[in-house]
């Protein structure tokens, strides 16, 4: 699996946000660190594991937390941003509110 660089990883994240009607976190420093984390995960695992989740050891086991993770749509609907705060809803971004850690929906009974 060819390695990815920061530009390729940022392009991936930008494409995801464009396709879903989201925006990237406007905090450039925070977003840069997440893009760097996504890149690191691609280059060591071969897929874009969420930078704020740890691997269970295989792509199959991690499939729910490959970016954009399976719960990101619900998290963005409820909190305005995804678990790692890479993606914002447009409304949340416009509000100027700061993201914060949110519960990992995978652990709740009602996903």
């Amino acid at each position: 699996m060819p390695e990815k660089n920061l530009d390729q990883t940022r392009t991936f994240a930008q494409m995801v946000s464009n396709k879903q009607g989201w925006v990237l976190n406007p905090d450039a420093e925070f977003t840069d660190s997440l893009v760097e984390g996504l890149m690191a995960n691609w280059n060591r695992y071969g897929y874009f594991l969420c930078p704020c989740r740890d691997t269970e050891g295989s792509r199959e086991a991690d499939k729910e937390v490959i970016c954009p993770c399976a719960v990101s749509w619900k998290d963005i609907d409820e909190y305005g941003h995804c678990f790692c705060a890479l993606y914002f809803s447009k409304a949340f971004a416009a509000s100027g509110a700061a993201p914060k850690s949110i519960p990992d929906r995978r652990f709740s009974k009602e996903k």
């Binding site: 760097e36 984390g37 690191a40 740890d54 050891g57 790692c84 914060k100 850690s101 519960p103």
Partner: protein, 102 residues
């Protein structure tokens, strides 16, 4: 089991709390949590759980879950052996560690 892990020690002027942070090297909120501790001058130790062997990491997560009866997400901080924080929500860290806001 948690005592067998290799932690990175950070020295700061505040040594009144025992703080251990279980983090991911790739995680934005983990970086925020560590910056918070640095800014407030705490001594603490941390470990990047994505940089240790998978089996060791899974054992550590199991130990944390059993000890604190909570799911393990990152950052996961243990304060004075008996309290814990999951994620980084600054007011929670301020309250638990007893510090003023910056």
């Amino acid at each position: 089991m948690l005592d067998t892990l290799t932690y990175t020690e950070v020295d700061g002027p505040r040594k009144d709390r025992q703080i251990t942070v279980y983090a991911l090297s790739t995680c934005g909120f983990c970086k925020r949590a560590i910056s918070f501790l640095n800014d407030k001058g705490f001594s603490y130790r941390y470990i990047y759980m994505d940089q240790i062997p998978l089996e060791t990491k899974n054992q550590a997560k199991k130990a944390l879950k059993e000890r604190f009866k909570d799911d393990v997400a990152f950052p996961f901080a243990v304060i004075d052996e008996d309290k814990h924080l999951v994620g980084f929500i600054e007011p929670d860290w301020v309250n638990t560690l007893g510090v003023g806001r910056s």
